[in-house]
């Protein structure tokens, strides 16, 4: 099927010339070779080890096109930008951010691209899929593959529809990728993608160059004080995670006042894409030292020298925590994860969990509304818009509902079919699913809180649910074993003195007129 399988030398030279890397990281070469042999693979590689290279490199050498399904729109956009900056032009992303004209343009020129990123919802778009089927797809990538399992930390019902799409595309090789998947989730991925000969390439997800510390404080102001203290002693590139936009802005402002020698900025999903891009690039370019951010930041950020990741607020489970911490120390040098905890902090993730899916009350009311409709068949569009507006549903909440309705054939294609007994049934089914899902999420949250409060080795307990053992730490292990901030000696890059110069000097520099 693949006529020109490149050998190892050839792959290395592509890596060097096209991507600018000297060598492969653990796992990359094995997975890439599998792909060139037409083998379907499940790749579990830790965050920050170049998962995306596993399909980006083959994408430009394989004969047909490569589809990447990803739930993270901002990640797609970042990756397309980075690839274009490296000189790969035949790459695009199709998602909800595009306006009608842009989407139209891309769909008409679909045959011009080698690598196409799309959201799982987009794959359900009949016109897009029709266009896709007319092309030859060599590789189908399922990014964040844990989304297929309700035991994963994020669950996307649209992922359950992928297996049919893969079949309709003539069973191309599949690459399922995740950074964090327990053995149970790995099984779910294989089962729901329905690929019996899926080859598993599982690599240890522990990061031996990151030390873990958790500090318990009594008030959020103490958290701020502690951050100021740590950053004064260790002015290193730092990310601080918050649960909300307001917190990002508030603490960023305080830090800017308290840390006159550090350059601090905030980043969250409420900013314009232009501003977000600037902040991200400033951080990459060493113009900023500290970023206060929500989980919206960092997915596509390929910054090698982040030394410290602080959690001001907790995420909802170990998986997210591991992913966020994994942005530290990509260069392999000694880095630290610091989590700050106040009794009762779990209230915030609990609220986030509630918001992920519609509430039981909403579901009851929505089915109540559907039962009242005096018609047996209606266009989907009309009802959808009304429900979303009335119950202020997020896209994820609506997709969850829609999937349940599709399962029971209440929705087929673009039509609603309303029959009382089916509706009653589906309502009960949806409610029990909702309860089950909430129970799983809450269990995962408490698993995480248990870890925060545990008295044993942080490293051992953090990775235990995912793998049997872990590597020996290179620098320090954790605050229960051997770490304290007084022992930490991170490489400190001396800031280039930021001279205060007038606009005329700045303008000359920018235009290279300094002579």
């Amino acid at each position: 099927m693949h006529r020109n399988k490149p050998d190892q030398m050839k792959l290395l030279s592509i890596l060097k010339n096209k991507f600018g890397y000297e060598g492969f990281r653990e796992g990359q070469l094995d997975i890439i070779k599998d792909i060139f042999h037409g083998q379907s693979v499940l790749g579990i590689l830790p965050t920050g080890t170049g998962k995306s290279l596993c399909y980006q490199l083959p994408a430009f050498s394989l004969e047909g096109i490569t589809i990447v399904v990803s739930p993270l729109v901002s990640l797609m956009v970042d990756q397309v930008k980075q690839l274009k900056a490296r000189g790969f032009k035949r790459v695009t992303a199709i998602n909800s951010l595009l306006d009608h004209n842009q989407r139209d343009y891309i769909l008409r020129h679909l045959h011009d691209y080698k690598l196409i990123y799309c959201s799982p919802e987009m794959l359900q778009n009949p016109y897009f899929f029709h266009r896709l089927k007319s092309l030859s797809v060599s590789l189908f990538v399922v990014d964040e593959a844990h989304c297929i399992s309700q035991w994963g930390h994020e669950f996307r019902t649209d992922y359950l529809k992928l297996k049919d799409r893969i079949k309709e595309l003539g069973n191309p090789a599949v690459l399922a990728l995740s950074a964090t998947a327990t053995p149970q989730v790995q099984e779910d991925i294989q089962y729901f993608l329905d690929i019996p000969d899926l080859k598993k390439r599982i690599y240890p997800m522990d990061r031996p160059n990151i030390a873990f510390a958790i500090e318990h404080v009594t008030h959020w102001q103490e958290k701020v004080g502690r951050i100021v203290q740590v950053l004064k002693q260790n002015p290193v590139p730092t990310m601080i995670y918050f649960s909300s936009r307001n917190w990002c802005e508030k603490v960023s402002e305080t830090l800017n006042q308290e840390l006159p020698d550090s350059r601090v900025a905030y980043y969250h999903g409420g900013m314009s894409s232009e501003d977000r891009l600037l902040i991200q690039q400033q951080f990459m370019n060493h113009q900023l030292d500290v970023i206060c951010c929500t989980s919206a930041f960092g997915m596509g950020v390929d910054k090698q020298d982040i030394r410290l990741v602080i959690h001001f607020h907790l995420p909802t489970q170990l998986e997210s925590f591991i992913q966020e911490v994994g942005r530290a120390g990509r260069d392999g040098k000694e880095s630290v994860s610091l989590a700050l905890y106040t009794e009762g902090d779990e209230q915030i993730p609990l609220r986030l969990i509630e918001q992920e899916l519609p509430t039981e009350r909403q579901v009851e009311q929505i089915f109540g509304d559907l039962l009242k409709i005096n018609s047996t068949s209606l266009p989907l569009k009309d009802i959808k818009e009304e429900l979303i507006a009335k119950y202020e549903l997020t896209e994820t909440q609506w997709n969850f509902l829609k999937y349940q309705l599709e399962q029971q054939k209440i929705i087929t294609g673009e039509q609603f079919h309303l029959e009382a007994d089916v509706l009653e049934n589906t309502c009960q089914r949806t409610l029990s699913l909702l309860r089950e899902r909430a129970a799983i999420k809450i269990k995962k949250l408490y698993q995480f809180i248990d870890w925060i409060k545990s008295t044993g080795c942080r490293r051992k307990d953090l990775y235990r649910p995912f793998q049997e053992s872990y590597q020996q730490p290179v620098y320090h292990c954790c605050d229960h074993c051997d770490f304290s901030f007084s022992k930490w000696n991170p490489p400190i890059q001396h800031q280039i003195e930021e001279r205060v110069e007038g606009w005329e000097v700045e303008l000359r520099k920018l235009f290279h007129q300094e002579a």
Partner: protein, 354 residues
């Protein structure tokens, strides 16, 4: 700056109209009503200069002005200046010469384009001159990227010389800014190993509100655009960045179509039927056309005598409220006729703050 603009708008509109008309003006709403307000109250320079404004933001700023006792509530939807507000406004105006730089009605539709072209081109050339071709563009609008690509093809053989003269022209124009204002403008530029600051960062660093940060940047763009447009021989390099649309009348597409049909000799009723639009809508278009094109012949809509009667009444009543004027005129004179005359009266390019 934002505060001064709000006070100046309230000063002009007073309690004749709901304050939401000010919001629509700043947002640049393309409706016949807003366009007429812009002209009638001499506020066309601020048309569309703060497109990111939200209803909430706007309401909060009114509440703040009220708290500071610069404005008072007249009705549920109307406000006017207090005497404190009036004296504060006249002090602010003299301290903010940049207010006179805005030319929103003529530039609001091309200013963003001009700015994005300039930003992306500076980033591109600054990097390419250092042989650095791998950079992430500061904006990803396809039209802008395409324009920059074509522009590069034109300039690549003399990139050094071109960039030096672009620097020279920008320098000359920024020299006419207050120093801090020029600092702000340059701080937003991105180039080789230097990423520009975001609006929020500008606001923090210079201790401005977010609205003021945006307005200072916007005023620079309007200033540069007009200077360059009026002196193309003096600024040959920058004039290449001006989008062609500036040469066209700032009409909505729909009003443009109506204008074409009128030229071909169709009547209002015929156009209304042909385009399947209400007669009222076509009349709105005609008023819009007169606003942007002072030379447009109106005698087929309003006779010379009627025009004179309306003019006299407007100056006698000294108001811009259509309803009041209409009530004092003979039945035979329609709203449409009054609006045409008002459009002609207030069509000059009036600088609200000059």
């Amino acid at each position: 700056m934002y505060q001064t603009i709000l006070l100046a708008c309230i000063d002009r509109i007073d309690d004749e109209k709901s304050f939401s008309s000010i919001y629509h003006l700043l947002k640049g709403k393309r409706s016949a009503q807003t366009i007429q307000d812009a002209k009638a109250y001499g506020l066309s320079p601020i048309f569309g200069i703060l497109k990111s404004l939200t209803k909430n933001q706007f309401r909060n700023s009114l509440l703040k002005l009220h708290k500071d006792e610069y404005i008072e509530w007249k009705g549920e939807e109307t406000v006017s200046l207090t005497s404190t507000g009036k004296s504060y406004l006249s002090i602010r105006k003299s301290q903010e010469p940049e207010l006179a730089w805005f030319d929103g009605f003529n530039l609001h539709h091309i200013a963003p384009h001009f700015r994005l072209r300039l930003l992306l081109w500076i980033q591109t050339a600054s990097n390419l001159l250092k042989n650095h071709s791998h950079f992430i563009p500061v904006n990803d609008q396809r039209e802008v990227a395409t324009w920059v690509k074509t522009f590069y093809q034109k300039k690549k053989n003399q990139l050094d010389a071109h960039f030096a003269s672009l620097h020279e022209e920008l320098h000359q124009l920024l020299k006419l800014h207050q120093p801090f204002h020029a600092d702000i403008f340059v701080a937003t530029l991105t180039g080789f190993r230097k990423i520009g600051l975001s609006k929020q960062q500008i606001a923090e660093k210079w201790n401005l509100t977010i609205e003021d940060a945006e307005l200072y940047l916007q005023s620079s763009i309007h200033f540069i655009l007009n200077k360059v447009h009026q002196n193309q021989t003096e600024f040959p390099t920058l004039s290449e960045f001006i989008p062609h649309e500036l040469m066209q009348l700032p009409l909505t597409a729909s009003a443009g179509k109506t204008r074409k049909l009128l030229k071909q000799g169709y009547t209002i009723e015929q156009i209304s039927r042909r385009r399947n639009l209400k007669v009222n809508t076509i009349q709105d278009h005609i008023v819009e056309i007169i606003h942007v094109d002072p030379s447009y012949p109106v005698d087929s809509f309003v006779s010379a005598e009627a025009e004179q009667i309306i003019r006299n009444k407007i100056s006698e009543l000294n108001t811009k409220r259509l309803k009041v004027i209409k009530e004092q005129l003979p039945e035979s004179i329609s709203y449409f006729m009054i609006r045409i005359v008002m459009a002609k009266l207030y069509q000059s390019r009036d600088y609200a703050y000059a």
